[in-house]
Structure formats: structure tokens, C-alpha cells
Amino acid sequence: MKTFSWRFIRVWQRNRDVFFRLWHSELPGAVAEPMIILLAMGFGLGAFIGLVNGGSYIEFIAPGIIASYGMYAAVFECTYGSFIRMEHQKTYDAIIATPLSIEDVTAGEIFWGATRSAMTGTLILIIAAAFQLVHSPWALLIPAVSLLGGLVFASMSVLYTSIIPSIYSFNYYFTLFITPMFFFSGVFFPLTSFPGLVQDLSWILPLTPLVYLTRGLVTGEMNGTLLMALGILIALVAVLFPISLASMRRRLMV
């Protein structure tokens, strides 16, 4: 399999430049929505919900919001964003005529998607900290974990993007995969509220280990399952990243 080179950073820089040129159209949405969810669900719904695991409801969902909105940032970037660049703008075609390879382009897209995840996760972490919802210094590791989670979701999304015929195919990805994951990965309620089988199955969804790990770092309650969650995320990147590079080559080098 062909691998990427350091030149992928050029694609990352291109995406960064475009983002910061247009940040005023992206950033407010990226911050406002998780804020609204956090406050509405946390304070609104939280008023009717008893203590979860000994904390307040808003404390429970804050790490879930960090993880899931990080996921959304990477997913949107590497589905609609990547597809438009690839198919409509022919940006990839232009770049692969330079010394960059298709693997460099794909890796640049994935790392940029992961960066978006880390940016979003960190921003929500800061907001959550401002509301005094973060109690452990372990939370300083959250940007790195958001980046790792971002790599998982960006690789997965680029892989899906590389095989679909049209932009409408993303409907399946979101309604059958991303949205269910948002509700079954322990963001809004502990997995223990599900029957045993569902609990086990939910660990197949990559958001589950990410939420679990983020929550552990926010609360500072360390245990062995956190390492397992970390291991799952690393394993997913190790598998999905090279597959998405190869799949993009298959699609574009025709």
C-alpha cells in the first residue's frame, strides 16, 4: 500500500486557511449549538432528573457534548466538506497534479477533520470549565483525546465519502449511523440504563469509548476501562486510516 508523506501538511494548511478566512460563517454555529444543548438539556431537563452517578445531570452530559460535537465537526468536514472539494470543486484533481499524491491529499483531509474535532472539543471544554463543570486536571488531556477521536471519525467519514456516488448518499450515513450513535453512546444517559445486550453492542460504536474516555478525564475517576477505551480508539485509527487512503486512491486514480 502507498503511504502518505509529510506533504499532507500542505492540504491541511489549505483547509486551515479557508476555515479561518470563513470562520465567521462556521464558528458561531460550531459553538452555539453545543452550548444550547448543554444548557437546555443540562439545566432544563436536569431539573427533572435525579443525580446521575452522584453528580448533577449537566455535569454528566458535559463530557458527552465535548465528545459528540467533536465527532460532528470531524464528520461534517470529511463528508460534505470533502465530497464538495473532491467532486464539485475538483480540488483533489488539481492537487494530485503537483508533487502531492492522493494519499497526501486524503491524509491532509483526515488530519484537518481531526483538527476541527480538537478545536471544537477544546472550545466546549473551556465553556464547560467556565460553568465549573470540570473538576480534574486530567481534563487537560481532552484536546489530545478529541484529536484522536477526530482521527477515528474523519477516517471513517472519508472512507464513506470515497465510496458513495452522490452527495445524497450522506443521508444514510447520518440517519443510520451518526444520529443513532449520538443517542446510544452514553452522551445523554448512562449505558447502564440499557439492557445488557444493548450495552455490549454500544461498545461497537466508536463514540462510546470516546465519550467514556472524555468523561473519565473530566471527572478524574481513573479505571482500567479508560485504557481499554483508549486502546479501542487507537485500534480504530490504525485500521480505518490506511483503508480510507487506499479507498480514495481507488476512486480518484482512474
Binding site: 506533504r7 489549505r14 486557511d17 478566512r21 492537487i95 497534479a97 503537483t98 502531492l100 482512474v254
Partner: protein, 303 residues
Amino acid sequence: MPIIKTEHLTKKFKDLVAVNDVSLEVEDGECFGLLGVNGAGKTSLIRMLTAVSPPTEGKIWVLGKDLEKHSREIKAALGVVPQVNNLDPDLTVLQNLMTFARYFAIPRDEARKRSMELLKAFELESKLRSRIDELSGGMKRRLLIARGLLNMPRILILDEPTVGLDPQAKYMMWNKLTEQKSGGVTLILCTQNMEEAATLCDRVAIMHQGRVITLDAPRTLVQKYIGKEIFEIEVEPAKREEMVGELKKRGLEFEALLGRIHVFHIEPDGAKGPLRDLPGTIRSRAASLEDVFLRLTGRSLVE
């Protein structure tokens, strides 16, 4: 040593053979033309030469190196102007060039200098900060060509670069390409404009259904396939069969097109020599590359 060499190059898309067993050599410093009807396989060939499309069969050497193994290094020495606009619409005119320069690892200051020079040369200075969709079609085309020159390529590969340009811009472009050539750059020019090919190219290859059917200097091709002059007989549809029969009987080389018949290689003496006493209007004019093209790729109606 040829600067580009292909051997038995073939490109298939499922059952469709877009490029069929093409072996050719492009000399260092020449302008090499690529002609052919729509769908002949020109773009497919060029995409293989620029390492963005892997050959189904065959081999390519560029600058003496195997393209498959040294694609990065070779791509760094190529300037590519694609048929389809792929400027970056998320960036301004200047940012397009600066970002592209980064793909070639050109240092920032140098990139800025070259970008400004190119924008000036291609009369796009006033559009520096415009978004791409604010440019006219011809301006986009000009920017696309400017972008192809950013890395000071050894080989410049252009797929229909002057489509949609006004006459001024077209002559400006011909001028620029001639300049590049005198600077030692090898040009590969794919075009539908026969005048352009005849003016700029040292040699042209005519492609048909994926094959190179002829390859030579434009003038030589005209001499070989048409002669000095071409004779055009205008003929009514009803009389057409009869006329074709008569021309065959006289053993002449001709091509029957819609509404008219072209006759080649005639040395006129007396009253139009071998064409004397034919019904219909007969005109003659200087032969051109376009006549060669039509003869070789013509959708001829009779054998």
C-alpha cells in the same frame, strides 16, 4: 534522448478503450500537438502522462525516468493546464497561486514574487483579491495557465488552453507559449484549433479512436495527405452518387463530406486538369491542417 517516451500505452475504462497502444516520443524543447475529435482519447492520454491516471498497460518515461516509480519528482517538473477548470473556489486569485506554490514547496517570498509577475503577465492584477467565481470564463482560463507556470516547469502540458478566450487573449497566450518554448520548455498542446496547432507546433499527432493515426510536422502532413491545394466540389445530394462514381473512375483521392467533396493531390493543368468536365461548382484553395484533420478523422459517408 526524448523528454517523454511512451511504449504501448493503453487506457481502458471497463470495455471502452480510450487510449489504444500508443507509442510515441516527444523531443526536448519541441512543441508537440495533440489533435483528435471529441472522445479520441487526448485527455485520457494527457492524464496518464501527468501521473494522475494509471495506465492499464504500457510504460511512460519522463525526463529519462520511469513515471510510475518517480511520479513525485517528475510532477515537480511539470506544468499542467487541465481541460476542466479546477481553480480553488474557496480562495482568492492570489491565494490560489500562493496555495499552489506551497504544494510545490516554493518558499513564500519567492512564491509571492512569481505570483505577482504571473498575474501581471496575464493581465489579472486588478483581480488579485477577487474570488474565483467573480472572474469571467476567459479570466479563469488565464489564471489556470498562469498557475501552470508557477513552478517554472520543464514540460508544460496544456489541454485545450485557449478555449473560450477572446482573440486578444488568444494571441497573448500564443505569445506566452512561444516565449516558454524559446526558454527551452517542452510543450504538449492538445487543441481543437487547427490554426493554433499549425502556428505553434513543431509536430502534431492526430488521434482517432484511441490510436495515433499520424504524426509529423504540420506542413509535412498537409503535403502528404492533401497536396498544395485542395479542391472542393459542391454537389447536390441527388447527384452525389454519380459524382463519387466518376471520381473513383478517374482514380482520384477524395473524401465525401456533407454537401461537398474534397479532392486531394491534384496537379491542375489546363481547365482544372483531372477535374475537367465535372458538373457542379469546383473551387480550390490553399490546403491546411484542418483539411488533413477532416480527411483522416472525417466521418466519411462512403468508403
